[in-house]
């Protein structure tokens, strides 16, 4: 299959080829691949691409998938606008 035409990260438009290149260059953690290719930085924060990349790393490096960690998840889950935050703080108890 043509790796250029296989999308791993929908939010940031990253292909399987990009991911495999990075792994082969020695970036074998999702945190590194994220910083260099922006996977996991989009609105879905790694929900669709996380597992796929973990499997690629396991396949190419031989590390068992149990040892591969997904990226860190930080608040706010699903996003929140500045306005919504301010509105919440101004509600009088």
């Amino acid at each position: 299959m043509n790796e250029d035409n296989i999308i791993i990260c929908r939010c940031e438009d990253v292909t399987l080829k990009d991911i495999r290149n990075l792994i082969q260059q020695g970036f074998t953690t999702i945190e590194e691949i994220k910083r260099l290719s922006r996977i996991g930085m989009g609105p879905c924060q790694g929900k669709t691409c996380g597992l796929l990349i973990a499997k690629e790393i396991a396949e190419i490096t031989g590390i068992s998938i149990e040892k591969i960690e997904l990226q860190n998840i930080r608040p706010p889950y699903g996003g929140v606008t500045f306005e919504e935050i301010i509105a919440g703080d101004e509600v009088e108890k």
């Binding site: 999308i7 929908r10 940031e12 438009d13 609105p43 879905c44 929900k47 669709t48 699903g78």
Partner: protein, 102 residues
């Protein structure tokens, strides 16, 4: 394309909702989300991917994958698959110009 009759479920189409897609007037139904209304009208491409401009449409329909992002009433990146359709909504395909300068 709407399911007219179903052996298990009844789809009592709620009242009509008028909305605009890239400026064109369209009709959806009460209880529709933006994405389900568009899909029912045969509109599958909801946006373009960031870099390669590949067509993007509904994938998960439960608000997880962010593949259905559109600009709604001027607000970008709205997950249309979980946003209820409302009267008069302005929906636009969203193709983000990525600023690549210097």
């Amino acid at each position: 394309m709407r399911i007219e009759q179903h052996p298990i479920l009844e789809f009592k189409k709620g009242e009509k909702i008028r909305f605009y897609f890239n400026g064109k007037e369209m009709i959806g139904f009460k209880n529709d989300t933006i994405a389900s209304a568009l899909y029912g009208l045969g509109i599958y491409k909801l946006s373009e991917s960031k870099k390669q401009k590949r067509p993007r449409g509904i994938f998960c329909a439960v608000g997880h994958c962010s593949s259905c992002l559109m600009t709604v009433d001027g607000i970008p990146n709205v997950r249309t698959c979980i946003t209820p359709l409302k009267e008069g909504m302005q929906i636009e395909t969203q193709s983000q110009e990525v600023i690549k300068d210097a």
